[in-house]
Structures are given as structure tokens and as C-alpha cells.
């Protein structure tokens, strides 16, 4: 158990070093989520060299034809500009995804896991990889 935490922490530090996290305030819960994703990504791909906000941005705006037809993109609900309020298909407002606008974003690991699970399946028709999740969060933490 201790070793896993240690591994997670070191990966976390690595991730910090290569990605642009300066814009967001540090938050231990969010850091732990990022660390976990980093460790997972490293475990599945030894050549993993850190998360990229550019790849995250691409994923955020990508149009998919594979998932469910009503939800072609993350922007369907989260809007093209992550600093703006989004809206579900059933009409409820969604707080902006950018951490600068909604500071408590990505701080509850269960919530993050649940929505990645749902939304990746809806949009992409498959689960997201740890690297994709990390890229996505890195992009939004920096916005």
C-alpha cells in the first residue's frame, strides 16, 4: 500500500513537471486524482511522458461518430468554451468545466470516475484511457 502511494506521489511530481498546472490552485484531492491517473497511465504504457493540455483540448472539442448519436462531442453539453456554463440535453445548467471558473471541479474521485465512465461511453462509445482522462483534466485545470 505504502509503495503504491509512493509511486503515485512520484508520478504526480513527474506529471507536474511536464504539464502546465500553474494556472490552477493546488488542491490535495485533485492532486491525488491526477496522481492516480498518472500512475495508471504509466502502468499501461511505460513510455508515458506526462499529460498534455493540447491533447486534452483536442479531446474536449473532438467530434465523434462512434458513440450515441445525440452526443457527438464533449461540447454538446459542456459548450465549446469550457469557461462558460454548459447545459444537459434535458435542460439543466452545468457549471463551467474550467477550474478557474468552478474551483471545486475534479475534487471528488467517485464523481470524476462516474462521469468519465458515462460521458466517454456516450460520446466515444468506449471508456477513456487513463492518459485521455489525465489530458482532459490537465487542459481544464489550466483553463
Amino acid at each position: 500500500m505504502k509503495q503504491v502511494t509512493f509511486l503515485a506521489l512520484t508520478t504526480c511530481l513527474m506529471a507536474f513537471a511536464v504539464s502546465d498546472l500553474r494556472a490552477a490552485e493546488a488542491n490535495p484531492a485533485r492532486d491525488a486524482i491526477m496522481a492516480g491517473l498518472g500512475a495508471e497511465a504509466k502502468a499501461s504504457d511505460p513510455a508515458f511522458a506526462g499529460f498534455s493540455p493540447q491533447r486534452g483540448q483536442a479531446l474536449y472539442g473532438a467530434k465523434s461518430t462512434v458513440g450515441k448519436p445525440d452526443t457527438p462531442s464533449c461540447t454538446t453539453c459542456h459548450t465549446a468554451d469550457p469557461t462558460q456554463m454548459g447545459q444537459t440535453r434535458a435542460g439543466k445548467e452545468i457549471d463551467a468545466m474550467a477550474v478557474s471558473k468552478t474551483p471545486n471541479r475534479f475534487t471528488d474521485p467517485e464523481k470524476v470516475a462516474k462521469w468519465f465512465g458515462r460521458n466517454c461511453n456516450s460520446v466515444l462509445g468506449r471508456p477513456c484511457t487513463a492518459a485521455e482522462k489525465g489530458d482532459f483534466l490537465t487542459y481544464l485545470i489550466g483553463r
Binding site: K92, G117, R118
Partner: protein, 384 residues
């Protein structure tokens, strides 16, 4: 023609002022009640209820006045033997009706019938309001089933009342033609031509003081009843949504009241969350199980409201949707699609229009009409 000088111009006062006010008030309000009851859309139905309440007040007064009013207003002055009614109708057929100062025997039957039918319509209307809609003083007294039965009676009586009113007007017209006395004008002025047919007994005069006393007593009893009804627990029991249900199912849309679908449909909806109306809404199994348990134990079967009874009979094999149920579609068929488009969430956002949606009651008195009234043609730049 003046009332002041009845002897000189041969006219005598017959219909006292309260009777005339009652007559024309009743005529106007009953017409309005029939028109609104048959024609206006559900979200304006409260007008019909208000009209009904005014009619009830008039009728209570008229019944008391039937005992303490002046001679021709009293019920006692228009009780005739059935044989006299037949005789009178025969005399009308022979185009020579016997003159009467007050109601003639046929008219007396009609007037009594009208009052009885209006009284029964008021009673059935209040039972319908309480039982079916869970509104008004009897909301906690009558069940949905009694409300529905009363509703059928209410509708049947309404058709009957239309028939009675037409026959009444026809009768007045025929009598006026045959007797040469304009009976409609008499109900306005209150005086009629002096005839030989004045009653054998001396005309009784009105007793306004006694009337006031009796009405105060009745008013007091009604007030006590109203206070009692206001202190009853709510007719639709308040049920706070289960916290897990609220948190998990309120993220994308309004937290649907559990009474809006039967238990079997909720169960089916909960087993298909990975493809929930075109979206993945899947949940951790233990949370899904908790939600299923709560929804199925509070499904439509356990409520006595209108939507629960009408949506609780959904085809279990159909889509687990409220907005495709025939009952829902019929209720909302008057609403132009542009209104639903103008609402965030569309038809499924029940709470945007029904301000009591969270209670599950969906009363016609709690429909927000601003969407209808403020409807603008969609602006060109709104469409991408």
C-alpha cells in the same frame, strides 16, 4: 308603468328585488359556468370554480329566501298538485293558459328542477374538485374514485341543465305570447298585471331580519367547515425525495416525482441506465439498487392523485417515458410546440410550468401560464 302606484295602472308587485337579483345573477353565472366548463382549457379552469362558488352563494341565499322572502318568492307559494300542472299544460296547448301572479304550475316545476339540478351540479363539482384534483374544501375527504364518479355525474347534469334552460326560455316565451304579458320584463321590473288569480290568503311579506339571522348562522357553519378543512394535513402527502435519488437523478433533469410512473416502469428504467434516452447514465450498483427500492416503493400505485392514476396504467412494455403516455399527450395537446421549445428541458421539465410539480399534485390551479402568455415568435437570430 310604475311600481309606486300599483292600483292606478293595474299592476301589482310580484317579484321582490332579491328574487330578481337572484334570477338574473343565476342566469348569467350559470351560462358562464356552462361556457367555461365546456370550452376553456384546463389551466383557466379556476375561473369555472370561482363562478361555481358564486352560484353556490346565490343558491344558499335563494333557499333561505324561499322560506322568509315575500309571498311569491316563497317555496310555499309554488307547490302545486301534479294534476294542476297537467291542467296548466293542457290550457297552454289550447292556447288559453290560466293567468297566475306568481309562478304558474308548469313554471313552478321548472324552477324547482333548475334549482335542484344546479344544487346537484355544485355538489358533484366540489366532490370532483376534492377527489380528482385534491383541491378545495373536500380535498382530504373524497378519494380519486369518488371524484371521477362525481365528474361523470357533473357532465351528465350539465347536458341536462342545458336542456332545462332551453325549455325554460321556450316556456317563458310561449306564456308571454299567449297571455299577452311580457314575463321577461316582469322579472326586470318586478310588477305584473293585476289578475283575478291572486292567492286566497293575504300576501306574506318578506322577513329580512330573520333571513339575515339564518344566513349569518349558515355563514358561521361554512366558516367553521373551512377552518377545519384548512387545518387538515395536505391532501397529497408531502414526500421529500430520497437523497441518493435526488443527487443521482437530478443532475441532468428535474427530479421526477415517483408518482409519475408505476413501479414496474421505474424498475425497467433503472435496469437500462447505460442507454438512458440516448445517454449513458449508469450508476454504481449499490446506489442504483437504493434508488430502485425507493422509486418502486413510492410508485404511481401508492398515490391517489390524478397523474398517478392516469399514468399508473402505462403499458409496461412501452418506453419508460411520461411524455409519450397517451394521457400526457392529450393533456398537453393544446400547447404549441414552440412553447415547449422555449423551455429549457422541453416537455420533460414539468416543474417549468407546474409550480406544484415537486408535490406530485399537478393541480390546474398551479400551472404557470407565463409561457403561454409571453410566447413570442422565435427570433431569427436564435436559430443557428
Amino acid at each position: 308603468m310604475t311600481i309606486n302606484d300599483p292600483i292606478n295602472d293595474g299592476h301589482v308587485p310580484v317579484w321582490d328585488m332579491p328574487t330578481r337579483i337572484y334570477h338574473w345573477g343565476q342566469a348569467g353565472l350559470v351560462t358562464l359556468a356552462l361556457v367555461t366548463g365546456f370550452l376553456i382549457p384546463t389551466d383557466w379552469l379556476n375561473i369555472h370554480v370561482i363562478i361555481g362558488t358564486l352560484i353556490a352563494m346565490l343558491l344558499v341565499f335563494r333557499v333561505v329566501w324561499g322560506f322568509f322572502g315575500s309571498e311569491y318568492a316563497r317555496f310555499g307559494s309554488f307547490i302545486f298538485h301534479p294534476r294542476r300542472v297537467v291542467e296548466h299544460l293542457n290550457s297552454v296547448l289550447e292556447r288559453a293558459p290560466a293567468p297566475h301572479l306568481g309562478h304558474n304550475p308548469a313554471g313552478a316545476v321548472m324552477v324547482t328542477l333548475l334549482m335542484v339540478v344546479v344544487g346537484l351540479m355544485l355538489a358533484s363539482g366540489y366532490i370532483l374538485l376534492g377527489g380528482t384534483y385534491k383541491e378545495g374544501p373536500f380535498a382530504t375527504v373524497f378519494s380519486y374514485a369518488s371524484g371521477e364518479s362525481a365528474g361523470s355525474v357533473h357532465t351528465l347534469l350539465a347536458y341536462g341543465l342545458i336542456g332545462l334552460v332551453l325549455i325554460h326560455v321556450l316556456g317563458v316565451w310561449v306564456e308571454s305570447r299567449l297571455s299577452g304579458e311580457n314575463l321577461i320584463r316582469a322579472m326586470v321590473s318586478g310588477v305584473k298585471r293585476q289578475t283575478a288569480a291572486a292567492p286566497a290568503w293575504p300576501p306574506r311579506s318578506a322577513r329580512p331580519l330573520t333571513t339575515g339571522f339564518v344566513l349569518t348562522g349558515i355563514g358561521y357553519l361554512i366558516a367553521v367547515g373551512l377552518v377545519w378543512s384548512l387545518r387538515q394535513p395536505p391532501a397529497v402527502p408531502r414526500l421529500a425525495p430520497d437523497p441518493i435519488y435526488k443527487a443521482e437523478c437530478g443532475g441532468c433533469h428535474w427530479v421526477y416525482h415517483p408518482s409519475l410512473l408505476p413501479a414496474a416502469t421505474w424498475r425497467r428504467l433503472m435496469t437500462g441506465l447505460d442507454d438512458h434516452f440516448g445517454e449513458d447514465a449508469s450508476l454504481a450498483p449499490e446506489r442504483a439498487a437504493a434508488i430502485t427500492a425507493w422509486l418502486t416503493s413510492h410508485g404511481a400505485e401508492t398515490w391517489d392523485t390524478l397523474p398517478a392514476h392516469r399514468l399508473g396504467t402505462l403499458d409496461p412494455a412501452g418506453p419508460p417515458r411520461i411524455t409519450t403516455a397517451p394521457f400526457w399527450k392529450r393533456q398537453h395537446s393544446h400547447i404549441p410546440p414552440a412553447i415547449f421549445k422555449s423551455i429549457k428541458g422541453g416537455p420533460g421539465a414539468c416543474d417549468a410550468c407546474h409550480t406544484d410539480a415537486d408535490s406530485g399534485r399537478f393541480s390546474f390551479r398551479r400551472i404557470d401560464r407565463q409561457h403561454r402568455l409571453l410566447l413570442q415568435p422565435p427570433s431569427p437570430k436564435a436559430t443557428p
